[in-house]
């Protein structure tokens, strides 16, 4: 067998295409993405390798293009169940043996689905690189798909949603928000599925998903940490270079359409003593040329402690513990949303204040002093987002996935410094919604906040125990 292995290894080496990484641009005094190596294997797998030797650790991150966009109709959560099943028996190991192998090494390995990719993340001691790469390759190339494991994973997924509904509503409100805002568009489908859609998924669905939407041509692998790049590259070539391609074309989503006017979803959680609210519309995508201006403006509007939203709803009025806003950026524009919560009897006051704050930001814009504060804040905090192996591996995946080069990091400071009042006003008009055009979700005790909900706009009501995130009649 050793002869065969070395021959395979040699064959892969000879057909691998090495691609020079995009050149680094001037960092203009800001943070510079450390040097890394790029390669594309013959099957299309992209490798990104960055040595970092300050701890004896390695982070390995994987993205498989497709994600929940590949879920069959009515079977939301298929990609998520696939991701979970990669951890439940692969190669020569049963589910229990697989978990034991990872954890005995002190390693961490997890898989999850996103809207547009399935991701695996691993962190391990450098000494365990061979073991952990082998486990990641087993998970992706040789999942066992045992029927009994599938049944457990599917049941646990539905039960976990029920448990989350018993917990702090802050964790789930975005799920309802996306469902309500993007209904009819793929971004409105819950990545983890709902109790209802999970029940419709079969093991054959997962196997079909695997054949169609998982393969070497969809794969991006980033490794950062304590290793030698040439050696790591060889290991990855051996592990992944011979993998088949996915059978189907990469699924994609069209640009979602913005909400005109308001519509309100009231989710009844009996006994709740606070009302949790989410106000959203279609925002901007990951590669939007004005994304940096959007970030600077969002910092001032709802992206840090002294933001307008937190100042109004928390610092000045004491209505809430926290109010914030943010962009969910994907290949197409995801949501821009505002979220907060307040005690039940203050629901109208808090939502009105959030809406008025949005109006004020859009009508008044931000002056130079405010913009200077936001620019300095973003630049001051930016290095802490690229501090660990995991941060850097995640960033390399992000850049490769969206086709961005190192300049996204290297010229960040330049872009931030260029955001002036004119640029701010422009993105306020284009990327931030008018308060008249919003998808609104309210979670709380419906009997007590129904009237407050009706004041905002036309209301549709559902129960938090309903087995989906969108108000539709059971089939």
């Amino acid at each position: 067998m050793s002869w065969r292995m070395s021959w395979t290894q040699f064959a892969l080496l000879t057909v691998m295409v090495t691609v020079a990484c995009p050149a680094h641009a001037d960092s203009a005094g800001g943070v510079h993405l450390p040097a890394f190596e790029c390669a594309t294997l013959a099957n299309g797998t992209q490798l990104l390798l960055m040595e970092k030797h300050d701890t004896p650790l390695i982070s390995l991150s994987v993205a498989v293009r497709g994600g929940a966009l590949g879920d069959p109709a009515g079977k939301d959560g298929t990609a998520a169940l696939f991701a979970e099943l990669t951890q439940k028996g692969a190669g020569t190991r049963s589910a229990a043996q697989f978990a034991d192998a990872v954890e005995t090494a002190g390693g961490q390995l997890g898989a999850s689905a996103g809207d547009e990719s399935v991701g695996l993340k691993a962190s391990f001691m450098a000494r365990d690189a061979d073991l952990m790469i082998g486990l990641v390759a087993d998970a992706l190339l040789r999942p066992r798909f045992a029927p009994e494991e599938f049944a457990k994973v599917r049941t646990l997924a539905a039960q976990s949603i029920a448990a989350a509904k018993d917990s702090d509503p802050r964790a789930l409100i975005g799920e309802y928000g996306d469902a309500w805002l993007f209904h009819g568009h793929p971004y409105g489908r819950p990545v983890e599925g709902s109790e209802r859609t999970l029940a419709a998924i079969t093991l054959d669905d997962v196997k079909r998903y695997y054949a169609e939407h998982v393969g070497g041509d969809r794969l991006i692998i980033a490794v950062v940490g304590d290793f030698k790049a040439p050696e790591m590259r060889r290991k990855l070539e051996v592990a992944f270079g011979g993998w088949r391609k996915a059978a189907a074309p990469v699924p994609s989503a069209s640009a979602p359409v913005r909400v005109q006017g308001r519509r309100v979803l009231l989710v009844d959680k009996p006994g709740a003593t606070q009302a949790y609210f989410w106000l959203g519309n279609v925002g901007a995508n990951r590669t939007d040329p004005t994304r940096t201006a959007q970030s600077v403006v969002n910092t001032l509007f709802g992206g840090r402690f002294t933001s307008m939203l937190n100042t109004e709803l928390r610092i000045k009025s004491g209505l809430t513990y926290g109010a914030n806003s943010g962009f969910d950026r994907r290949t197409q524009p995801g949501s821009f949303s505002i979220s907060s919560y307040t005690r039940t009897e203050k629901t109208t006051e808090a939502i009105d204040l959030a809406l008025a704050t949005l109006d004020r930001a859009r009508s008044e814009g931000f002056d130079d002093q405010a913009l200077a504060s936001a620019r300095t804040y973003l630049l001051g905090q930016f290095p802490t987002t690229l501090e660990t192996n995991g941060h850097l591996a995640g960033r390399l995946i992000d850049l490769a996935f969206y086709g961005l080069g190192p300049e996204d990091v290297d010229q960040y400071a330049t872009r931030v410094r260029a955001v002036d009042a004119t640029a701010a006003r422009r993105v306020l008009a284009t990327a931030f919604p008018a308060s008249a055009d919003l998808a609104v979700v309210l979670i709380g005790d419906a009997a007590k906040i129904r009237d407050a909900a009706k004041r905002i706009g036309p209301v549709t009501e559902m129960k938090i125990t309903d087995p989906q995130f969108y108000p539709e009649a059971p089939k």
Binding site: K269, G318, G380
Partner: protein, 467 residues
């Protein structure tokens, strides 16, 4: 106070981090080979004449600094009537001084590229600043100002009272796990102030007086009751110069009266039942264990890891994978100045029997109390601790937190680097004995959260039934 604006998108609460009222810290690092830690030899300390100790760990990986100020004051120092005041006081530390109006602290820090947060625990209150190394002096100015000149404006007190109440509603009242843990903790202690929820009981949140806050400031926010940790791209001599300039003038205060109450031995199992709107029943068990620096606490860490850390752990394999008697299981160990609680939690499937889940947990405890861990399990827990240690030290924040844990709870930050030897020395017999002597029924409180009958439709095909 959480200044963090990150939104949690996870579907499940992270069990170990679920209730702010209980959290000493999540994912506390453990143990590694001291001599292989790059830069550790550059750690320097100085104690100012007023008693404020400063620990500096230079690290130029990024051009930033983490400054953590630990006060030895938390909900353990409270009494009925002022429960939650440590946490409330933490909020008030951001609300203005005699030289800077309300909001100025955060406005100035953020405008200069810094961010901050703070957390209050049963034992300590920790203030955290993260900033570019070019503004270190400004941060010293801001911190020294609120240590010296805090202005407790009655109007700001009333507004912030509502903010804290909102925090409580989110973390405790509208979160079933938060609710259950608070009730179990309050039941587990008869005498010791660890019974007090860190966020405070609602009637005390409504009742705190400005004078209570002034007394608290005077007593606990003294330089001799604090330790400051500065990790990042700094030159120690410059930082000590700033400390002399900004902090040396703070006046030392008489040491706060020590907490002397000791929890009497528990004489038998205590059980509580909590009824809430719910689909998933919950179980929380808590045993009286050791204090942070005790060897028995290191052993308990190992025991709980073997029982409940990761998918390969005994409880996960038995309850979640083999028996489908739990959606999730987890463990948590409170490590403080005084003997804390060791916890095991389980989320029971909708319609499932809590009695069955509980009996399976009992069976796993009995098994390890009889047979002890396997050699493979001991190896696994050591490797997890080693890797976790390194992960904890990947960031300047992680280093500041680890130094704080060891300096404040273990008495000397250098013990962080002695830990590997302690850890390696733990034997299978010690782990077995911990299970037999600590995790016994008479030493525990069991809390069960059950759905209100009307709101608990039994799911099709699930075993058991609604009670």
């Amino acid at each position: 106070m959480t200044h963090t604006l990150l939104r949690d998108t996870g579907l499940l609460p992270r069990l170990a981090c679920v209730a702010a009222a209980l959290i000493a810290s999540c994912g506390a690092p453990a143990l590694a080979a001291a001599d292989s830690l790059p830069g550790a030899e550059q750690i320097v300390t100085r104690t100012l004449p007023n008693g404020l100790k400063i620990v500096i760990w230079p690290d130029s990986d990024i051009p930033n600094v983490a400054m953590y100020t630990w006060y030895r004051a938390g909900s353990r120092n409270e009494r009925p009537g002022i429960t939650g005041i440590s946490h409330f006081f933490e909020h008030m530390m951001f609300k203005g001084t005699s030289t800077r109006p309300e909001g100025e602290f955060d406005r100035v820090m953020e405008a200069n590229g810094g961010s901050n947060n703070a957390n209050t625990r049963a034992d300590v209150t920790v203030y955290e600043d993260w900033f570019p190394n070019t503004v270190t002096e400004l941060i010293f100015d801001l911190e020294s100002d609120r240590m010296r000149n805090l202005n407790l404006d009655p109007k700001a007190v009333e507004s912030e009272r509502n903010v804290v109440y909102s925090e409580r509603r989110s973390s405790i009242d509208n979160d079933n796990f938060g609710t259950l843990m608070e009730q179990v903790q309050a039941t587990a202690y008869l005498a010791h102030p660890y019974e007090i929820p860190t966020l405070g009981w609602p009637s005390d949140i409504e009742g705190w007086k400005v004078q209570d806050l002034k007394d608290y400031y005077q007593k606990y926010y003294a330089p001799n009751n604090a330790v400051m940790f500065i990790v990042g791209d700094v030159k120690p001599e410059e930082v000590f110069g700033l400390a002399d300039k900004y902090l040396a003038g703070l006046k030392a205060q008489p040491a706060p009266e020590p907490v002397t109450t000791r929890e009497p031995p528990q004489l038998g199992e205590r059980r509580i039942r909590v009824v809430r709107e719910a689909q998933t029943p919950l179980i929380a068990m808590a045993w009286h264990a050791g204090a942070a620096p005790d060897r028995e606490t290191r052993v308990m860490e190992v025991l709980l890891a073997i029982l409940g850390s990761g998918d390969s752990s005994r409880l996960h394999q038995r309850l979640v994978e083999q028996e489908q008697a739990a959606v999730e299981v987890g463990t948590y160990l409170h490590q403080g100045f005084d003997p804390g609680l060791a916890w095991i939690f389980a989320v029971v499937p909708p319609g499932g029997s809590t009695a069955r889940t509980e009996s399976l947990i009992d069976a796993e405890i009995a098994r390890i109390a009889k047979e002890g861990p396997t050699p493979g399990e001991l190896t696994k827990s050591r490797n997890q601790a080693l890797a976790g240690f390194w992960r904890g030290l990947e960031t300047i924040s992680g280093k500041a937190e680890a130094l704080g844990e060891y300096e404040v709870f273990h008495g000397d930050y250098r013990k962080l680097f002695d830990a590997p030897a302690v850890y390696e020395s733990i034997t299978a017999e010690e782990v077995r004995q911990a299970a037999a002597t600590v995790l016994r029924p008479d030493n525990r409180t069991v809390g069960v959260l059950e759905p209100k009958p009307a709101a608990a439709p039994a799911e099709k095909g699930s075993k058991g039934g609604a009670r």
